[in-house]
Symmetry: C2
Subunit: 157 residues, 2 copies
């Protein structure tokens, strides 16, 4: 009996070629992990930027939009750890310091703090009370800063 699924190899081939980056096929597993974690950070930044503007008073505070972004960041924070497998340090291709791997427990503690603080912000954001949201956002921002200070190379520009 012909398996219906086996007949769909065309779709699968399309998926493999099209959903994934065309470059992925030539990337090492370490480079793939680097691209993955950079991507997660970019998507986090996309969501953090409008929240920071609202908290700073640089943009109007829209409670629904803020809660939406806070929820996204909470989901995304939990995706970071798998982007730092062992052997994914490639000098010149990552801003991660070797300490991410040599001081692993401290790094994972900070990622866990990022997860818990982003979850707290998402929860507090539901209240729509900007005065409660600000300190929760600040706690999250501080965690970003702490982790970057300890585990990320300084960026030049």
């Amino acid at each position: 009996m012909r398996n219906h699924w086996l007949g769909s190899s065309v779709a699968l081939a399309a998926l493999a070629g099209l959903c994934a980056s065309a470059a992925a096929a030539t990337q090492s597993p370490a480079e793939q992990a680097i691209e993955y974690r950079h991507s997660v950070y970019h998507v986090i930044a996309w969501n953090v930027t409008p929240m920071a503007a609202a908290v700073r008073g640089k943009a109007p505070y829209d409670p629904a939009a803020f809660a939406y972004h806070a929820n996204r960041v909470a989901l995304l924070a939990s995706m970071l750890l798998e982007g730092f497998p062992y052997n994914s340090y490639v000098a010149g291709k990552t801003h991660a310091k070797p300490e991410v791997w040599s001081n692993r427990a401290a790094f994972e503690d900070l990622l866990k703090k990022l997860e818990s603080r982003s979850a707290t912000l998402a929860e507090v954001a539901k209240s729509g009370d900007l005065e409660k949201i600000k300190p929760a956002f600040n706690d999250l921002a501080q965690t970003c800063a702490d982790c970057h200070k300890q585990f990320r190379e300084k960026l030049e520009d």
Copy 2:
């Protein structure tokens, strides 16, 4: 009274500079949107790749891992639309065809189909029954292929 929050401008500045890509400050809004959507697609691909391997029999089927990835893709699929705002076509910097904007209803229909099919896959994946999962995965793959055929420039490599 000194606002506790105002005292945390250092942390906020750190966040703005460190959570976001250093390049973001010099990017146009269109370029930021392009980087955002590329990032979401990369994170989707990261999760689709091991599912495709399991479905094809190229890797062992791990029900928990599969359900985890399927859930991630369902979350990520809903993040794509905001990555295609109007005026975010920049020739040479995006693989999106101009039809994404000129044939908007069809594009949004396909994104909605991606969302619903990835949600279905995440639901079916909970069963741990690979024979039920395969057609759901195939439906999702077909949606990727359909959208890429219609709305994405052919990649050279």
